[in-house]
């Protein structure tokens, strides 16, 4: 841990905080500046039966009659100390709402992540050792195929085949073991495709290296060659993709939870969207930003420790841009 490393780390952490705050502000701006006034729409709904005076009182109590910059400042100053505010719909603390559904989403997305990694590595192994005539090309086509399938379709196909035809799980019991497993598969497959694309490209590069030829010449078994000599150097660029993929898990859970009828962050967002419940949306977006920024921060901090050639520079953009661009580039080029 050199001095330069610590200084770079401190700067990165500061930047991460700025990004989180800005994500919060951005959501506020997007939802409140744009036209449409969901609150008064709900209040004025004749079924709710509020009079003009009552509406005014409610709006004043929520601080919604203040100018927008003032509202933003109030909300931001609460956010900084960890107060996420009250849901406009149910008047319950947003933090409680999120805490209620978070475990379900965490279980789903960590299972999905494990499946994604396992699948990606298996596909990667296959592309190196499955002979051409036994369908190596098919394996290489997997990632680009799965990136072309909407993930709700994967979920529906799984429900149809395993739920309806084979009767392995019932849709009306979304939290049963099998239902959770299949939901995780549906969520994990597109993520695994993203990881596999980059992994395959790097495995191909590494297996052409001289040291790989030497290792083969020494008579290493496929497994050892793969695990010790190919996978390790190939997994470094994958760290960046994994960090990007975590965000996708959160976004994808929105759909997967709908398809499988689970409650979770996704269904919370859905409900918040239909009622334009700003505090809930803001909280979820900031949560997503926090997760994304944290994972990236960890990736950034771990990277130089894994690969001494990489220096942690205070200005993250210098290195990360090239890393991400190559990830984007390779995701567009791999597999033909």
């Amino acid at each position: 841990m050199s001095h330069a490393y610590l200084a770079g780390a401190a700067k990165r952490i500061a930047q991460a905080n700025v990004v989180i705050l800005l994500a919060y502000v951005l959501t506020f701006v997007v939802v409140s500046i744009l036209p449409g006034d969901p609150i008064t729409n709900v209040l004025r709904d004749p079924q709710n039966g509020f009079g003009e005076d009552e509406i005014k009182a409610i709006i004043a109590a929520q601080g919604l009659d203040q100018p927008i910059p003032v509202q933003l400042w109030t909300s931001l100053s609460h956010f900084v100390v960890g107060d996420l505010g009250l849901s406009m719909r149910s008047s319950r603390p947003v933090a409680t709402l999120i805490a209620e559904v978070l475990p379900s989403t965490l279980i789903l997305s960590s299972a999905a992540f494990a499946i994604a990694l396992l699948l990606a590595v298996t596909i990667g192994y296959g592309t190196q050792f499955v002979p051409k005539r036994l369908g190596q090309g098919l394996l290489r086509g997997f990632p680009s195929f799965f990136l072309s399938v909407p993930n709700f379709v994967i979920g529906l196909v799984l429900i149809h085949l395993f739920g309806f035809q084979l009767g392995l799980f019932r849709v009306i019991a979304p939290n049963s073991f099998w239902a959770t497993c299949f939901a995780a598969v549906a969520l994990g497959i597109p993520v695994s495709a993203r990881i596999a694309e980059v992994l395959i490209a790097n495995l191909d590069k590494e297996s052409e290296q001289e040291y790989a030829a030497v290792a083969r010449g020494r008579g290493l078994t496929q497994m050892r060659l793969f695990a010790k000599h190919l996978l390790k150097p190939s997994s470094l660029p994958v760290v960046t993709v994994i960090a990007l993929a975590i965000g996708e898990l959160l976004g994808g859970s929105l759909i997967t939870e709908t398809v499988f009828g689970r409650t979770g962050i996704g269904s919370l967002v859905q409900r918040a969207v239909s009622t334009q419940d700003l505090p809930v949306l803001q909280a979820v977006v900031s949560l997503a930003a926090v997760v994304f920024v944290l994972v990236n921060l960890i990736a950034d901090l771990v990277y130089p420790l894994l690969d001494p050639r990489v220096k942690l520079v205070g200005d993250s953009r210098v290195r990360r841009t090239t890393a991400d661009d190559s990830a984007i580039a390779s995701s567009a080029t791999v597999t033909s």
Partner: protein
Amino acid sequence: MTLASFSSASRVASIGPPTALRVPPTVALSFAVIAIVIAWSVAPSLFTGQSPIVGVPADKLLAPSTAHWFGTDHLGRDLYTRVVYGTASSVTSALVAVVIATFTGGFIGLLAGFLGGWVDVVLARLVDVLLAIPNFLLAVIVVTAIGFDTTNAAIATGVSAVAVFARVMRSEVIKTRQAVFVEAAFLMGGSRWHILLRHVLPNASRSVLPLAVLQFGLSILVIASLAFLGYGDPPPASDWGLLISIGKDYLKWPWLVYAPAFVTIATVLSVNRISRWLRKTD
């Protein structure tokens, strides 16, 4: 814009020198799929004689047959017809999304990369923030703010993809700016704007084209997902995502899901294949 480049690319390929630009069979097939999709969206009535909105209740939930290629839905409407009529809005909205993402993102990246300094720092933070919010969540938030319909879903999808384009454009511009011919243009007394428009922009945007094509495929998926969640046009519109969403309530008649899903997947696969091919021949 992207459609135009599809067709021009294929034309170049067929008359170009066979060594450099030979079209692999899978790419030719992809172009064929895209051609069909474009034809469907331009003139749906040429491909089917039935109505996408009015059904024959007696024929409801029929399995696929020669009379109804994709079967019929719960109101006795021909599903193939619904898919064909849904093509226009599914594909055009993806196109709108790509155009928004490419131009906004490209502009941000161009400014950041070319001007540098504090402009770069500010724009880089903005891009960081956009990247930190998962794409799909961002699209959902934007579409919430501007209202649920297919055009807005397209705008939201475009906004959520701005960051990627900004990043790639920025790094390309920085790469190009350091090229010898740009330096030469400076020394010959070219103004900043002249160099930006004549030298940096054309060269930097080359690598944006395959990305735009790739994003077209992605946008189809994102817009289908938004439609699936009900954030697009309501029925009787027949966007592909909406068709699948309706089909999911009738899983005993699985073609209601599989047929529109098949069309969506075939389209996106073709677009992705073309994007990879473009990148390779570049």
